[in-house]
């Protein structure tokens, strides 16, 4: 048994780096105090962004066709629910060395062009995305007033055509959280671009 230890030990040490799945429903906001650079040049943490009614964290980026496809809906929802007491932040965890469009200047331009009324920040080590267990863009995490995760997943069920959306998952969840009610659906999935984690 003891002879096996030298082999087991490196595995144990490597374990925390392995993907542990997405943040479980009911979890608190992870990496809440990590400062991230916003498109206005200021440093913000998720704690700074927290709203009185809840908090929406959207992992997104500039280059991904799915992030672009949902972008206008994310901006509309973010802007309107921020006004209803939900703290909203878009987080870009991609390594711009992989997709140059995802660099800071691109983010500043995109936020301006699309009219983000909420912060769009750089997860400079990709560590915040890792702490959330986020894997793709766009991927949303909504926390309630108490700071517990109540919704994780897709914006809605039709990226290509907003007119053909049958389930507006995020909108429904935001409406519930803003009204202090339970969300109708807690977890959904959609196809997206893999997050280009910094290695």
């Amino acid at each position: 048994m003891t002879r096996k230890l030298p082999f087991v030990l490196p595995l144990l040490l490597a374990a925390p780096l392995a993907y542990a799945g997405p943040l479980a429903i009911g979890s608190a906001i992870p990496s809440a105090d990590v400062k991230m650079k916003n498109v206005d040049g200021k440093e913000l943490s998720l704690t700074d962004v927290k709203g009185s009614a809840g908090t929406l964290v959207v992992f997104t980026c500039n280059h991904c066709p799915f992030a672009k496809g949902w972008e206008s809906r994310i901006v509309d929802l973010g802007n309107s629910y921020q006004a209803k007491g939900i703290g909203v932040v878009a987080v870009n965890a991609n390594d711009p060395a992989v997709a140059a469009e995802d660099g800071y200047d691109g983010m500043v331009a995109r936020a301006k062009e699309k009219g983000f009324a909420f912060p769009y920040v750089v997860d400079a080590s990709s560590g915040v995305a890792k702490a959330f267990g986020a894997t793709r863009t766009p991927e949303v995490f909504l926390f309630d007033k108490a700071g517990k995760l109540v919704y994780h997943g897709a914006v809605d069920d039709n990226m290509q055509d907003p007119a053909k959306v049958e389930n507006a998952y995020l909108k429904d969840a935001l409406e519930a959280v803003a009204g202090g009610k339970p969300v109708p659906v807690a977890e959904t999935k959609s196809i997206g671009c893999s997050i280009k984690f910094r290695s």
Binding site: T135, A154, T188, I191, G192, S194
Partner: protein, 167 residues
Amino acid sequence: MLPVSLTVALFLAGSVRDAAPVAAPAPIPADPAAVQAAIREPGASAVLVNVWATWCAPCREEFPDLLHVAREFKRAGLRTVLVSSDFEAGDGPQKFLSEQGVDFETYIKTGKDEEFINSLSTDWSGALPATFVYDAQGRLVRFWEGKASYPIMKKRVQEALARKEKP
């Protein structure tokens, strides 16, 4: 300056690995049931499934390695099921498949994302690329998200093929 013999050897090695462009068949529109049917059709010793898209850079990057494995193990009974999740109308996927030398039938996803994702694996988040390896009995042996290299894909396919005699 490389010696001529080495240059020729490198050229030959490259040509074995990279098939010449062909006129690839247009991907067949497939809902989750049709994709499952393609995976589970009897006769394969193992099945390699890859979900990709023309707009997905890591998907395009790993494609030559994926096809290398597909060709290498075809005679050992490996079936390769490629599923494009492209969403824009047009011949983009077919053009890419032609450039890559894909001369077999492939598929293009139809229907809602979530049903499609969960039909392949409830552990799949939806991030692309996604690759699944099944054994001869149709059991999912391996699944991973993100780009993989030739040696890794080869190893995982070999694992699935090795399970053929162990139902």
